[in-house]
Symmetry: C2
Subunit: 287 residues, 2 copies
């Protein structure tokens, strides 16, 4: 199981639906706390394992942070075991018994002849091979604001696992501010599964910052993902579309596309935006 | 409290965060079971009450059905009481102790000077006064398929509470199949609150059926809603955009707009689509 291996999921002796993983560096944020994408990826992976069905939808709520190196105990339960659809709940608990995250979702057996397709349109963007290492979401407006764009790290936290390349948008079906496109793949080039797509898609707040042209990170309140006809591929295009914000709470979605234009999933998210001063970052050029 | 009154929410003697409501007809589906929009509306309303903050995001998972006339016990808990943001959980339980629905969400205090605005565009549509009673989502393709479009009831279940008028889309920011716009207001013309907007927005599957041009209802797996700068208004435009489907599991979003073009909220949803034969409906003209 590629997901279990990547996430370090180990079945627990406490019974079915019980797992444990350690918050390794590649599952962490830049500040060495659990990365939100890890929590939803774990939730998708164990929901699929416990229900023996494929994930259709998952929402993960972030209740508490937990530091790198700590273990998280996972409990996956099928709340409503339907013939076709299973409603599931996944809870992550820290060593002191604190709830770290809580997830709700559904898995199911798609009907072979059932409705399948998409009404969304993929933006026309530069190919992965023609996209640059990583375009900071801030570079579009940093220069105009007389400061340097803080570079995205490539060897810290989850960026150890995922390679990202900023795509140049050539044509967008719904253009405007807050649209950001990023190519992503696993650095080990293994195929991206639904769980890993959910892992990567925890980046909606970036498009909110981009839309408002502000230097801001965010604390995610939730990650939500809904899956289309998913086929594992090497590269995915994360097509982020900020919806808007109120009083520093930002919302938006991210469609996930294969390189040949198939719609794989749509993530959505609400986050509390945190403004920062780019000139105060370590290593930043002083004006 | 207008929401509590509408939903019949009564504080329980069992302690803070405990409420009860009866599944009255205006809180039901056409088949006399609890309407999904009621469950998310109740979750939004009690999350706001228990946290004394405004709702930012809510996801409601549907675990079991419950029939009209039955009581539902509600338990609202603040899982993480932050200074600004509260992460909350709301659970609805039937008289036999069965979990009917489970919700996760967040409420908060928007920062007065914080990022506020939207990057989405409202479709240009006919005004409520120029829109027709209710355009069946099926009317666009029923005639071509040689059958009559089943009319939407106006005096059964939640349609007792909400008046709907099909809007004619004159210009859409992201056009294509699966785009449906509906004006909605309370029949008593009281202002639509965030909870009532969530109630109304439980209609994404309709846009999935519309996009595929099939006669289908749906069983919702979840309702999710994210709120912008919400101001109570009489009319809202529900701007449904189906994303797609896999094997009869459909996904999509619905933006909620005020008549003067302010973005109030975005709902999203996954549903299991149920095909039906329109000629088999009671009162349908036989071909």
């Amino acid at each position: 199981m590629s997901d279990s291996e990547l996430l370090g999921l180990v079945p627990s002796e406490e019974g079915p639906g019980r797992y444990r993983f350690i918050v390794e560096e590649h599952l962490s944020r830049m500040d060495a706390q659990l990365y939100g994408g890890t929590a939803i990826a774990v939730s998708v992976a164990v929901a699929e394992l416990v229900s023996e069905r494929q994930a259709m939808w998952m929402t993960t709520q972030f209740v508490a942070t937990i530091a790198q190196g700590q273990p998280v105990d996972i409990h996956a339960e099928v709340l409503a075991p339907g013939r076709r659809t299973n409603q599931v709940r996944v809870t992550g608990t820290g060593p002191d018994g604190t709830t770290v995250f809580a997830s709700l979702g559904a898995t199911g057996h798609p009907r072979p002849e059932g409705l399948t397709g998409t009404f969304e349109h993929m933006p026309r963007v530069s190919a992965p091979s023609e996209s640059e290492g990583w375009a900071s979401p801030f570079s579009a407006f940093a220069e105009r604001m007389g400061t340097a764009a803080p570079p995205m790290p490539t060897n810290v936290g989850f960026t150890q696992l995922i390679e990202m390349r900023g795509a140049v948008v050539e044509d967008h079906p719904d253009p405007g501010p807050g649209r950001v496109c990023v190519w992503a793949r696993r650095r080990d080039r293994r195929p991206i599964t639904p769980a890993v797509a959910a892992f990567i898609a925890d980046m909606v707040p970036m498009s909110v910052a981009h839309g408002f042209e502000v230097f801001a990170g965010a604390t995610s309140l939730d990650n939500t993902v809904r899956f289309g006809e998913f086929e594992p591929v090497e590269w995915v295009l994360l097509d982020l579309r900020a919806h808007g914000a109120i009083g520093d709470y930002g919302h938006g979605i991210g469609h996930v596309w294969s390189a040949d234009g198939r719609w794989l999933a749509t993530a959505s998210q609400t986050a509390s935006m945190r403004h920062f001063d780019p000139s105060a970052l370590p290593g930043s050029p002083k004006p």
